[in-house]
């Protein structure tokens, strides 16, 4: 009796911890399986091309708008802060470096997570619920190869491009606000931007984009393929995909920043 009183709280703690570890293990195995299938035929170029369009091209408006407004807001904030110690001239370079190294990839990644991880999880989850994934297997087609690999590969390759485009649009947003609102000289603003922005700034942001793209598509596919039954199961899978992708983006962003900072 007394033993049960002692072990019950421990069991209550241990159960979710074990479940969490099992979930991490399943996710790790899924990741390894997806990566291994990237290098093994058959490949599905048509599905890959379709994924490039839906993940990359169709995400451009939302990523572009996010970057445009962020660049503009960043210019205003930095101008306000830097004017306290008469360093307004630093606005163009800080906007450019901030967009390229941090805000471009992180906000772009989060927007893609909201748009893409949710749609992948909902689509694959619905396919699971309606037995389409079982149908793929009976038609001698590996669902991971056919559904996950093209999406993960497409996101890993297109999100860096989205980040680069987002960087340019964000810098343009800062330039628009700088020239029209903060009375910067247009040529001087652009010269300041170009002079202080280094290749490493852009490259580190683009590299982050590749990692974020991989994580977003991976979470969408994982939660879609492990979706529960019915509308509630698909809804839960969609929510978990977005939450997991967002948390992983923020976590990996810190780790990557540490890595680039130490290099």
């Amino acid at each position: 009796m007394s033993t049960a009183i002692l072990t019950r709280p421990l069991a209550a703690i241990g159960r979710p911890v074990l479940a969490g570890l099992a979930s991490v293990g399943r996710m790790a195995l899924f990741t390894i399986t997806v990566i291994s299938h990237i290098f093994r035929p058959p490949w599905y170029p048509r599905e890959f091309a379709h994924a490039v369009m839906t993940i990359g091209w169709y995400s451009l408006p939302v990523v572009g708008l996010t970057a445009l407004f962020t660049g503009g807001a960043l210019a205003l904030q930095i101008y306000d802060g830097s004017s306290r110690f008469s360093a307004e001239a630093a606005v163009p370079s800080i906007v450019a470096i901030g967009m390229a190294r941090e805000l471009g990839p992180v906000l772009g990644g989060l927007m893609v997570a909201a748009r893409v991880a949710s749609s992948i999880a909902a689509e694959i989850g619905t396919m699971k619920v309606t037995e389409q994934i079982d149908a793929l297997v009976t038609l001698s087609t590996n669902p991971i190869k056919y559904l996950a690999v093209p999406r993960v590969l497409a996101a890993t390759l297109t999100v860096p491009v989205l980040v680069a485009v987002g960087d340019a649009i964000g810098i343009m947003g800062g330039w628009i606000v700088g020239v029209n609102r903060l009375d910067f000289n247009s040529a001087a603003y652009l010269k300041n931007t170009i002079d202080f922005l280094e290749v490493a700034d852009v490259a580190s942001g683009v590299a982050k984009g590749a990692v974020f793209g991989f994580l977003v598509a991976l979470m969408g596919c994982y939660y879609g393929m492990t979706s529960g039954r019915g509308a509630q199961g698909v809804g839960r899978a969609t929510k978990l995909a977005v939450v997991a992708a967002s948390v992983l983006i923020l976590g990996s962003n810190y780790l990557l920043t540490e890595l680039f900072f130490s290099a």
């Binding site: 058959p42 309606t130 037995e131 389409q132 149908a135 297997v137 009976t138 001698s140």
Partner: protein, 248 residues
């Protein structure tokens, strides 16, 4: 010939199959009947490798289904799913020709499309439906497309999972007749799971009753009607009274 020998399968604490033993002779049409949740679909999934049995063996023509090239094994099968399970993003002909557009049975796009249209015609659909998307079809038409996909690669074994569920009686009759015709015409081994007794009489050579995870009874359609097994009699007459609990 498909043979299941003492197959067990549990999901967590729930023991779905508790020792299924069944033989489906080559070229015969076997229908498995039984109430909802008795393990009919799980039985089919175990044969196809969609679910792994906890114990017992399943063989196709004497070869264990878990051994050898699984793709080659699946290439011998066709399956009509309960909800048709058509791929929403593909057109009707691409669904039907899915297997013919990739993998070991790959044909040219033109040839695959021609075969798909021929199979659509076989199930009573016009070539005009070929370029529609599944969402544009009625439930009965989707089932027919699913049937066309199941027979597209001329399989040796065809599985039908609740082929008439959700259809009106006339469409259900059309699908039953089509299944029977196609199975006879192709000489395929067929395995159907259903609780629709009209389907049983239209499709079956042999019938097996699955209850509580085991085969309670098996025999021909004629024997089914005259047998004195209380489980079978309750099921075929749809009676609330009998050994099968109405509320499970």
């Amino acid at each position: 010939m498909i043979r299941l020998d003492n197959v067990h399968k549990a999901f967590g604490d729930k023991r779905v199959l508790r020792g299924v033993t069944l033989t489906v002779p080559k070229g015969e049409s076997m229908v498995i009947i039984g109430g909802s949740g008795t393990g009919k679909s799980v039985t089919l999934k175990c044969i196809l490798g969609l679910a792994k049995p906890d114990s017992g063996t399943i063989t196709l023509d004497g070869v264990n289904v878990e051994e050898g090239d699984h793709d080659a094994f699946l290439a011998r099968f066709g399956m009509l799913f309960q909800g048709a399970a058509l791929f929403d993003s593909l057109t009707v002909w691409q669904n039907v020709a899915f297997r013919l557009l990739r993998g070991r049975l790959k044909r040219s796009k033109e040839e695959a499309r021609d075969i798909a249209i021929e199979k659509l015609r076989r199930v009573g659909l016009t070539p005009e439906t070929a370029d529609l998307f599944p969402a544009e079809l009625s439930g009965g038409m989707q089932k027919r497309v699913g049937l066309a996909r199941a027979i597209a690669a001329d399989p040796e074994v065809i599985f039908f999972d609740e082929p008439t569920t959700g259809l009106d009686p006339i469409m259900a009759g059309v699908i039953n007749d089509l299944i029977r015709e196609i199975v006879v015409e192709m000489g395929a081994t067929a395995m159907t799971i259903t609780h629709d007794m009209t389907s049983v009489r239209a499709i079956a050579d042999d019938v097996a009753m699955l209850h509580d995870g085991v085969i309670k009874w098996s025999g021909t359609v004629a024997e089914m009607d005259s047998c004195d097994d209380p489980f079978v009699q309750q099921f075929i007459h749809g009676s609330a009274e009998g050994p099968i609990e109405a509320v499970r």
